[in-house]
Symmetry: C2
Subunit: 374 residues, 2 copies
């Protein structure tokens, strides 16, 4: 038998251009070690690492390890309290008002969603608002937590100002994401997790790095006009709301972003709109005091067989005639499920080189075991 | 004294080109009479007329008297049951599942929102899902009902298929609107009421009548491509989701439209997605069985002084530096408040000529007192 072709392939895979894959468990281990190095208790470090690695597993790198350095900075200067345990300030059978006490986003978020789930299982709905929170990662994480209990879950958070209201030339709302998860049968689901801006800053950064332009409706210049210049769009920091300009109904995206801030920031008594601090890689100068809302609803309080109908609903939408037969309709969450499957098949997550460099210097700075590759 | 100039003005006002204004009370009287003529009980006729005239008062003509003929057609052929009283099928302290029994949209909607309000006042949240409903007018109506009680109100409904999912060339969701109302101090408020498509069909009809084109992102042609041809966009009947094409994040608008259908149609056990019938001026061939959701939340369950913070939130957004100083930032609901003030100052609503013609023939057909002008 001739093994030459197989060996050649194998050699090629081991060349320096071969992807360096990081197992999901190893990425989690590394992040836990980082958090523990800045005195975060084990349980909190695990909660935060679970959240971040889940984003990388799904292909949402902007909300994964990419954020690690910022969290570590905030923790190192005591701007976030890694050991804080959230506290209930007010409660009814269906609601709770929680103070996150400046704890880690995942700690506050998991606490609040678990409380909402408990209430939903008792009276059908749980509606929990948190103030005193920090950046809580991907909004979909908390919807997934409710879905795992057979419930419909929703979550929203306000964020640092980046979106210019329709007709304005300054940012006054964040990318303010909202999520909704609804379980179907056999593990299928509907999982919406979206910013209320047209795009995230990350997409503008990518166009800028490529030296490419921006489509209409993504970003504004300092005078408040649409810009196609990625450099200018990035430096101005005024994203446009979902819908783009007023002509294409950008005021609806603006309205949605404001809705998210009302339900998360205003209702909880946290910072809102232009009160929210800027958040940069350099660490922050004050506590974020972000507001968040966590909603769980028990579909069994309404028509029976919700999950079966969700399966039919999903099938109807995925089965609509596509414009291009090679690109079938995708439901929110489908791309992420495909990405998880690819990572599992490949045996690990492929991080960008500059992310790996950041990890290497973090490991050195914090004196922890560097990230290992498969 | 010379009255000549005054007389000339007065003569000019009485000329055939002068606007024919209909007092709000008279518009309401006319609609009540129409509903009673097709055997709708007095209280239900009043509820439905209140809803429709409120839309005209706010300048949303598409959701006002414009719909009267369609409602009357549905009632005349017993496709809607004008006398039906909604029934609670299942209940917890925070939730209710309601069967609208094919009653009028306003009757079902008011019943459900009042139930949600009662629950919110007891346990902080009321979440009511209705099946067996009909077209329920402007979604904001029900949010206003909650706001009048000092609560935050939300409502959503599914509608007849008109939106093509991203990547599809067929419609599989309706314009599926959502509303959120939050009260501020001194009668100020935030009132979002938006379809999850980029625009409503009415806007395409207007461009078509003007012989004008469509901006990118409003509508598709039969092959699923963006069209700028208003005639083709109208005849195809495939609106694009908020956000337009995939490049400008139309999949988010698609996700929002699907979210509305899950919370209204799927959760309530009503028709959803492509199950929902087409609704035309000719009357329908079957019961609509639409699904709707009504949510009321008591902000006092969370941080105190919600209305004061809403006033500050509104001021921050209205006060952001405008791109064009002559066009300050408007909040959702501001245009509608301005329109109500204009109607009140003018002494009546100015309907389009073809709307008045429809009213005249309705009056004749139903043998009721024609619409009177101011």
């Amino acid at each position: 038998m001739d093994f030459a072709p197989l060996l050649r392939v194998s050699t090629r895979n081991m060349a320096s251009s071969a992807p360096k894959l990081v197992a999901v468990a190893e990425s989690r281990r590394f992040m836990i070690d980082c958090f523990k190095a800045v005195k975060v208790p084990q349980a909190h470090a695990e909660a935060q690492a679970d959240l971040l690695v889940a984003a990388d597993h799904r292909g949402h790198f902007s909300h994964g390890m990419n954020r690690l350095e910022m969290y570590i900075n905030d923790l190192a200067i005591n701007c976030t309290d890694g050991g804080a345990v959230p506290k209930i300030l007010k409660e009814t059978p269906a609601t709770a008002w929680v103070d996150g006490l400046n704890g880690l986003g995942a700690v506050v978020g998991n606490y609040c969603m678990d409380l909402a789930i408990k209430k939903a299982k008792t009276v059908g709905v749980g509606w929990v608002c948190a103030k005193g929170s920090n950046h809580y990662g991907m909004a979909g994480w908390y919807a997934i937590r409710a879905m795992e209990q057979g419930l419909v879950g929703m979550s929203m958070t306000n964020t640092s100002p980046l979106m210019a209201p329709t007709r304005a030339k300054e940012a006054a709302l964040g990318t303010n994401p909202l999520s909704l998860g609804a379980p179907a049968t056999n593990g299928d689901k509907f999982l919406l997790d979206m910013a209320t801006t047209a795009v995230a800053v990350g997409k503008i950064e990518i166009q800028r790095r490529k030296g490419a332009g921006l489509p209409d409706g993504w970003a504004q210049d300092p005078n408040g006009n649409i810009t196609n210049d990625a450099e200018l769009g990035f430096s101005t920091g005024c994203l446009m709301p979902l819908g783009g300009s007023e002509l294409t109904s950008g005021y609806k995206g603006f309205g949605l972003g404001a809705m998210v801030d009302i339900l998360s920031g205003v209702m909880s008594g946290a910072n809102y709109s232009t009160q929210v601090r800027k958040w940069t890689h350099a660490g922050a100068d004050s506590a974020a005091d972000l507001g968040q809302v966590f909603i769980a609803v028990d579909p069994n309080c309404f028509a029976p067989n919700f999950e079966e109908r969700m399966t039919d609903f999903n099938a109807r939408l995925r089965g609509v005639k596509p414009t291009d037969p090679s690109k079938p309709v995708l439901l929110p969450g489908d791309k992420e499920s495909q990405n998880m499957a690819s990572v599992d098949a490949a045996g690990g997550i492929q991080y960008l080189e500059n992310q790996l460099n950041t990890c290497a210097s973090l490991a050195e700075k914090l004196n922890i075991k560097p990230l290992a590759f498969n």
